[in-house]
Symmetry: C2
Subunit: 291 residues, 2 copies
């Protein structure tokens, strides 16, 4: 719903989700919602489908966590058929069968761009490659570098399944300000608040400034700092994983609106052009892909 509202107020930005929990939704409804956003936005919609790291929606819709795998597997299969815009023939055990029906509204502009959002499991990477979808890794902890084996697995599996290579992306939280110091000071209390709120629900134990600072180093998963720091960190991501795209998760709990808007502005006006020029200057960067 929010994307439809954004579609009506914008002209250029792409409108995507991160992620749409397909497992606890109905694939036909998901397709209908995104094809509607695609129509309203003149072809700017994209959907990122995932199994869901948060599983609060499962009991609300009466789903059994024991079906975590089969729910996503089956629903992805059905979504893929709806997206192909042919009369659908499908049956499975997680949803009623469909016998030759079409889904409206039809896509007008193109095949709806659909990504699979994955955490760190090889099974998810293989399933994404089986369907030939572009992949986006959610890297919200640990080291981005450690996803290199999964990135290689995706490339190899896409080739094995005979699909042309698709885009590969990562998604991480971050915050940009004029200087590293300013970005960290501005971001830390809000990061800590959200971190501890989630931690309490998930049994992680309390976060600390030490943990935060480690995540802000070049090897960590937080893209926090000056435009130059964040640009260099994205370049490193390109060198280590060979990604085609980086998505910054810029909202973070109680972070004030003004700081967030400034961060978005710096990301678009300084970081993005800087990354482009760094990549132009280092065209052999992806020689290191398989290290």
């Amino acid at each position: 719903m929010f994307l439809a509202a954004a579609a009506a107020r914008t002209k250029h930005i792409r409108l995507g989700s991160a992620v749409t929990v397909l497992s606890s939704d109905d694939p036909i409804r998901v397709f209908q919602r995104f094809s509607t956003v695609d129509a309203i936005s003149n072809g700017r919609a994209e959907v990122m489908l995932g199994r869901g790291s948060f599983i609060e929606s499962f009991p609300l819709f009466g789903l059994d966590l024991a079906d975590y795998e089969v729910l996503f597997e089956e629903k992805l299969e059905l979504f893929d058929k709806a997206r192909a815009q042919q009369p659908i023939r499908w049956e499975g055990r997680t949803r009623p069968a469909i016998n030759g029906l079409s889904v409206y509204p039809p896509l007008e502009h193109h095949l709806l761009p659909a990504w699979i959002g994955v955490g760190g499991t090889p099974e998810s990477v293989l399933r994404c490659a089986e369907y030939g979808y572009p992949i986006i890794f959610a890297i919200i902890g640990g080291q981005p570098r450690s996803f290199a084996p999964l990135a290689n697995l995706y490339r190899e599996a896409m080739a094995k399944y005979g699909h042309p290579m698709q885009q590969m992306a990562t998604h991480s939280p971050g915050h940009i300000a004029e200087t590293d110091e300013e970005a960290r000071e501005e971001f830390f209390p809000h990061w800590l608040g959200l971190r501890n709120r989630l931690g309490a629900e998930r049994g992680w134990g309390p976060g600390s400034r030490g943990e935060f600072d480690a995540m802000c180093t070049p090897e960590g998963a937080l893209y926090v700092g000056s435009p130059e720091t964040v640009a260099q960190k994205i370049l490193l991501l390109k060198q280590n994983l060979g990604v085609d795209r980086f998505d910054l998760k810029y909202s973070s709990g109680t972070l004030p609106h003004k700081a967030m808007m400034r961060s978005i502005e710096l990301f678009g006006t300084v970081v993005a052009p800087r990354v482009a020029s760094l990549l132009d200057a280092a065209p052999t960067a992806d020689l290191n892909l398989k290290e």
Copy 2:
């Protein structure tokens, strides 16, 4: 989705559906969508819930038409609980149970206005009164006057169930132009096209100009004519049924955009003020309510 886009582009108009087929949807998802539109629009959302006159969505979601009654009955009960914004305890046979969970996003502005849309069955009127919801009658054929017994049934049932009286409305198709002649000529071919397309699916037999003209008379269900003709017809509706609100369905298949925009403009700038002044001049009109 469309209402969310409209919410982002408008400031004053109310944003409602006509109707949301609750029977083939999930009441929690319906509540979530409309509470989101309500947030985006600063409290301008309303939902009209119905069983669905069109039943194309039933096989798509694996629903059995034999459950037509129980699906709406149970789903209305669950929707009503979600709307009350308390942790939900519910069980039934058409959807998994919910045991004490809350639904997000919460309503910020008010209790989401929710109407029940009914065709012509007394059972639907009684169910609406049982829940104490405002009622809207879809009058798309026959004579609006013939709905008087149902309007009286609603009033009596609301009193019997101990609910304060709620708004009563009707919804009919129509088209407004400068003169009766112009409105009819402009509207007829598009009405006929849509009428015959639906008729072919539903086995009605072909429509005709005679049928159309009869529906455009003061006693018919088409609100087609000059602003004065349509205003007088709405006044008649007030006198015959005692309605508080009239919704004009202004889209009709292939009717050109320009003619539709002109009709909307005349409806808002000429018809609505004229109805208001006619009602001011005839304050005793609803003395005839029970005839």
